[in-house]
């Protein structure tokens, strides 16, 4: 059995989830990365997507996160997410609503920067939506 490490998921409102896990896959902006015990210190921005927790006390689970930061230290992995919820609680209707909002944002964007930002967020959300089917 693989060595476990501390994983904390924190939202601005509270500590959402804390467990020991064997592996956590984090959706970084430059691609997903898996964290095992003893990972080198790392700070990465997190994109909208799914965090996969493997081998924790609660078994394997998937958590939807939006916007945030992951910090890996020798003490463990801390994920700061602006929004997070279990993948099972995610509803297609809710996601569709958000995708629609973002599509409008892309259409309404005044400058390139805002447009880029909105379409990037849109792509990320669409990927999650695709997983839901």
């Amino acid at each position: 059995m693989a060595e476990k490490f501390q994983f904390d998921l924190v939202s601005p409102e509270k500590l959402l989830y804390s467990a020991h896990a064997e592996q956590v896959v984090v959706p970084g902006v430059e691609g997903d990365f898996g964290v095992l015990a003893g990972h080198a210190p790392l700070i990465s921005i997190v994109r909208t997507g799914l965090v996969e927790v493997k081998g924790s006390e609660d078994g394997d689970l998937r958590i939807f996160v939006r916007g945030g930061l992951a910090e890996v230290t020798p003490a463990g992995l801390t994920l700061l997410a602006e929004e997070a919820m279990p993948f099972e609680d995610l509803s297609a209707a809710d996601l569709d609503g958000r995708i629609k909002n973002l599509e409008e944002d892309v259409a309404d964007a005044k400058d390139d920067r805002a447009k880029n930002r909105a379409s990037e967020a849109l792509d990320q959300l669409r990927q999650v939506r695709a997983l839901l089917n």
Binding site: E30, L69, E71
Partner: protein
Amino acid sequence: MPSLKSFRVRIASVKSTRKITKALNLVAASKLRRAQEAAVNARPFAERMERVLSNLGASMVGNPGAPKLLAGTGRDDTHLVIVATSDRGLAGGFNANISKMARQHIAKLTAEGKQVKILAIGRKGRDALRRDYGRNILDTIELGGVKAVGFTTAHEIATRVLDMYEAGEFDVATIFYSRFQSVISQVPTMQRLIPAEVKQAEGAPSVDLKGAIYTYEPDESEILADLLPRNVAVQIFRAMLENAASFFGAQMTAMDNATRNAGDVIDKLTIQYNRTRQAMITKELIEIISGAEAL
């Protein structure tokens, strides 16, 4: 001499006032507990964010490529003053103290010839500033319907502030709120939001990396550019949480005092009432006796 009836009416009225203040006191006490919990729960996120920011920020300060949110616009002409108060009163000096501090700051800025814009969170702060600086108030965000302060509310305010900053509508933003120290003491506090204050994190626990160094993904400046706007939201959120806890603390104290004061007034009125009643009885007796004697 006032009639007995008027005493009875006054005593009844003060008693019902005492019931109300007593009830408000209990309500504030239970809400305070929840507000305090929320403030404590929000701490880990803010602390970790601050730690990463101060790590990154310290290396970027003074760098020509530093993001605008950290370095500022290079000007100091227009100030945005965010005054966070509550929508309701009955909390002693809570709203007055915050408004007073904000007003002094605004007066100082105006005296220096700077332009001031005010964004009020909570109705009471707007009411207090409206007379002197009505023209400077951009808008008021009312918290009326919001039961517990959520991050979404703070996020909306932050987005608005950041949009204004991007549009060059102000150079410096400060927020006024009340820091919760204890139930009986709340400290009005002023904090600069933009440009971000990077302090060496003293309170936040530092992490021993055992000789290793952080890998940044993407690079430091991009993380900083992503983090700084988020930090504004987190700071506003924190101020609002502290404010909520302070408000209920102040309200609890104020209502406790009011309840006690009502009790004193009732005691005093009761004594007066009894004295008057006795005086009247005595008077009637004298009348009867002297009438009997005259026969």
